[in-house]
């Protein structure tokens, strides 16, 4: 209750105004959930502890908001001072009463034709001052009035006709709103942008595929028939990154090179695809990068959430990044320099013998797609993906959703035409004779060793969240709205974060592909998870 009192005080004093200072100190206001991952460090952790391991089994539905959309919800809601801002896919926004789920306003975007690889989705909004920011599938960034939903400005981030879209939640830093782009299946040239929150004017752009004269361009063909492949080189930035205010660094993940599964047209390492990048947030200039998969041909984007932790590393205090990558390795990087510190598999993988001491994977033979097809672990959706991990400071464990699965990788035609798929074949995601399984795993972040796992029949598309009472929330997977014969299930569950023991579950009956979050309103801790086209919120009776 002590935490509640402090949070309520802060909320009252600053009602309606989300300042940059409040965002910096977001963890000290657990009543609110003010950024995509809950804080700039992206722990997806809340110190709220009203719902605990003893009483979590009593959780009941507090409210449900059914959205008119037929697309699945991938958003993490933002909650500020009792108001929930959540996107309705493709690119609409609801402001809801966080206590009841009743809508205050609804921004409904009128959309032209758009190009998205994988359903028209959106992962949420960002807030600052009296403004709400949302990216759209037609590749715009829009600022809305937080009290009315009125459009304050609407700028084009990129040309939707060439395959760009915005699906990720923006991140507000200082007086800027940072957004990435999607389009890695359309041969876009990826970038990360910063916009002035007042005017929508662009402050800077960092191209994730360097052009001629820029450092890193030499990792693309510069002569010959494929000398222009960098222009369609991919490297999208479709999942929200993290921010280190002390180092003034934005840490962001970069997606796959294009075309995904035929790398013949892009000899070289293909920087900065499949990389972690660290940018000076004021200028957008690259401070360092670390590439997880040079010359990727498996679509193993590095669009995971960078988890920033200050900790002891081999006897010395160090600013660290914990990163479980889609290719199946768990990494620890130095946040100041990007230095590689650890790389250890957290799931079965058959593509790298190891990560060498310099951080470069030592490839195994037969680890790229072939014309005839090649079975490789992990499958095309990786051993984990864009859904969020969690770091809990009380258990000092790193939690993530894992897929144990293989893929059938085919290499096909890499022909580029603007606005069309540019993928070079399509691998099989679910191999019917062995679909694999899913798990929630807890890792010792210092070693990458697994501490416990909770296995699931299906492979979850949802992330995890942990709390100050050492409760973990997660979900099972599969598509419930598709004609595929894949098994689908829709359990939202709570585990004991110390040992993985299941404490509670409920069948929500709709595809789950988002991340749990928590907040407090009227003295009650609420836990929210989307399933299908509905947002479910739970509380103790």
């Amino acid at each position: 209750m002590k935490k509640l009192a402090i949070g309520a005080l802060a909320a009252t004093a600053l009602f309606g105004q989300v300042t940059y200072e409040r965002l910096l100190k977001a963890p000290s206001e657990p009543n609110n959930w003010m950024t995509y991952s809950g804080s700039y460090k992206s722990w997806r952790y809340s110190s709220l502890d009203q719902i605990n391991r003893q009483n979590v089994a009593n959780l009941k539905v507090a409210w449900v908001q059914q959205m008119p959309t037929s697309h699945r919800i991938e958003a993490t809601p933002i909650v500020v001072d009792g108001i929930m801002y959540v996107t309705e896919p493709p690119s609409n926004v609801f402001a809801l009463d966080a206590a009841t789920g009743r809508p205050y306003w609804h921004y409904k975007r009128s959309l032209p034709a758009y190009n998205v690889c994988c359903d028209a989705v959106n992962r949420g909004v960002a807030v600052l001052g009296d403004r709400v920011f949302v990216g759209t599938v037609d590749a715009h960034l829009v600022a809305l009035n937080a009290k009315t939903g009125a459009v304050l400005w609407d700028v084009e981030v990129a040309d939707r006709k060439t395959g760009y879209s915005v699906t990720g939640a923006p991140l507000v830093v200082k007086d800027m709103v940072i957004t990435g782009v999607a389009g890695g299946e359309y041969g876009v040239r990826g970038f990360l942008d910063a916009y002035d929150i007042k005017t929508g004017k662009r402050r800077w752009r960092f191209n994730t595929v360097p052009g001629p004269g820029e450092k890193g361009h030499e990792t693309w063909p510069t002569t010959g028939p494929h000398a222009n492949s960098w222009k369609q080189g991919g490297g999208p930035t479709w999942v929200t990154g993290s921010f280190d205010p002390e180092l003034n660094l934005l840490i962001w993940g970069v997606g796959n090179p294009s075309p995904d599964w035929n790398a013949d047209v892009r000899e070289g390492d293909n920087l900065y695809t499949d990389s972690a990048i660290a940018l000076d947030v004021d200028t957008g200039k690259l401070k360092w990068h670390y590439q997880f998969v040079p010359h990727d041909a498996n679509d193993w984007d590095a669009v995971q959430i960078p988890v920033l932790v200050d900790g002891d590393w081999q006897g010395k205090p160090r600013k660290l990044i914990y990163w479980a990558h889609r290719g199946g390795f768990y990494y620890v990087l130095d946040r100041e320099t990007g230095e590689f510190l650890l790389g250890k598999p957290f799931a079965k993988q058959t593509w790298a013998k190891e990560i060498d001491t310099k951080g470069r994977p030592v490839r195994l033979p037969n680890s790229a797609p072939t014309v005839e097809g090649n079975v490789i672990w992990p499958g095309v959706q990786g051993a984990t993906n864009w859904y969020s991990p969690s770091y809990n400071p009380l258990t000092s464990l790193f939690y993530l959703t894992v897929w144990e699965n293989k893929g059938w990788y085919l290499k096909g035609d890499p022909k580029y035409t603007p606005g069309n798929r540019y993928v070079g074949s399509v691998p099989d995601i679910d191999i019917s004779d062995d679909q694999g399984y899913g798990a929630i795993r807890a890792l010792n972040p210092k070693t990458g060793e697994m501490v416990w796992e909770h296995k699931t029949q299906t492979k979850p598309w949802s992330g995890v969240m942990t709390t100050g009472s050492k409760v973990l929330f997660g979900a099972t997977g599969g598509w419930l709205n598709r004609s595929s014969r894949e098994d689908g299930e829709a359990y939202f569950f709570a585990l004991d974060a110390e040992n993985g023991k299941e404490l509670w579950r409920i069948n929500l009956g709709g595809t789950m592909a988002s991340n749990p979050m928590t907040y407090m309103v009227n003295g009650k801790q609420m836990v929210t998870m989307a399933a299908g086209s509905a947002v479910f919120t739970f509380a103790l009776p």
Partner: protein, 249 residues
Amino acid sequence: MVMLGAAGLAAAQTTSPQATPAGRAAGEKIFRSHCASCHGVAGVGGTGPNLTTGVFYHGSTDADLYKNISQGIEGTAMPDQFFNGVQIWQIVAYVRAISAAPVKTKLPGNAAHGAELFSTKGCSGCHLVKGEGGIRGPDLSLIGSQRSVAHLRESINDPGAKVDKAYWVAKLITKDGRSRSGFVLNQDTYAVQMLDFADGLRTVNRSDFKDFGVDRGSIMPSYKDKVSASELDDLTAFLASLERTREKK
């Protein structure tokens, strides 16, 4: 990228703008790598329908074909495809080309006699046809529209050759010693939802399992030595005649 998903763009055109020699050639290339595993390399069908008959049951305009390829067909095994725009129009152009001059081959065999055999040889004990029959095998009411003749023939002689996952049979023994068998309709972390051949729809908790396995073969016996060559023709003719009636426009 996230996953295969619904294609974003609806077809604005009504005829394929790729209906050119180059477009058809490109479509054939895609067809061979993405469609042939079900529809056959030449499009004459396999586990998926024959596309060369000139008859399309889910809409026969180019725009219908575009929609069916990009979005899949609800209630069938036809999945959505990871393409849109030009590439789907190329597939449409190719499919249109191979279906342009339909040849209705006269099958050997007597369908009426096949229908009799279907009852007397025991087929109807497990298979539904127009509402009559058992439920231990696939509903065959529209099988002539869904499968190639070659596949029908193969399935009578060698039922285990290609078994759709929906008809894999679960064999289950619970801790109380009870045996169950049936089709797995869905599985989750905690339980299996099945069509128990004896008990009907049942959910069985994994915590009650003593032994659980899924047989990927077929429970159907081979009819290779149970029907003569001419009877096989008759049965095949009967099954092939079980076609979807076209909706009148």
